[in-house]
Symmetry: C2
Subunit: 97 residues, 2 copies
DNA sequence: TATCTATTTGGCTAATTTGCCAAGTAATAA
DNA sequence: TTATTACTTGGCAAATTAGCCAAATAGATA
């Protein structure tokens, strides 16, 4: 595996890593319904707000979500509509056993 | 997030985790070309055979690949044709920056 | 049987990730 | 200006993951 190829797969894996956590997957699904502020996500997930904030940062860095501040609230939305088709694929793998 | 929902997202994340490594992504792509034995994969990737074997185990446990032993060789193939469409999605995210 | 070849497994250390708490920042309200 | 609300960041301990070497296993061949 040469350097160029290695770089490409590293980049892909970074995006996938940003999805590879139950809480983050839940958030992605939750955002499919429309943008939400951090406190709404916290309310749904039920973990510390700092934990949610870090999960959101991970996904933002990977380009999976976008954010915008309005007033006191930070609103997050998904950046990529193709993600839901990804879940369809995942379910079909998951249902094998 | 109740227990039932948590379980569903945990399961999804386990599949995604099994993809979340550059070497494993490369292997998935390599297998798209048809089944390969472990030593062919080792040759392409260039890391220790024990490392490759463990990566393959991770993917097998997640249901991403299947294996069959013939003679001395263990042949691996992808278990899910939808994975390549997943990569198309990843590329579109990756090309944003 | 003994040996060779292909692969897996055990064991270890190093690196990364997670989630909490506490402290910091930014926008609004009093 | 001070306080409040919403969120982010720093720091830390616990858990998980990665990759190497060495040892074990399974099948083929001499």
């Amino acid at each position: 595996m040469n350097n160029e190829i290695q770089k490409r797969y590293k980049k892909r894996s970074e995006i996938i890593k940003a999805l590879a956590h139950p809480t983050r997957l839940f958030i992605i699904d939750f955002l499919a319904d429309g943008e939400k502020c951090v406190c709404e996500i916290v309310e749904q997930v039920g973990v510390d707000i700092s934990t949610i904030s870090k999960h959101l940062l991970v996904m933002k860095n990977a380009g999976l979500v976008e954010s915008e501040k309005r007033g006191l609230n930070m609103f997050y939305k998904t950046a990529c509509p193709c993600i839901s088709s990804l879940f369809t694929c995942l379910e079909s793998i998951g249902n094998k056993d």
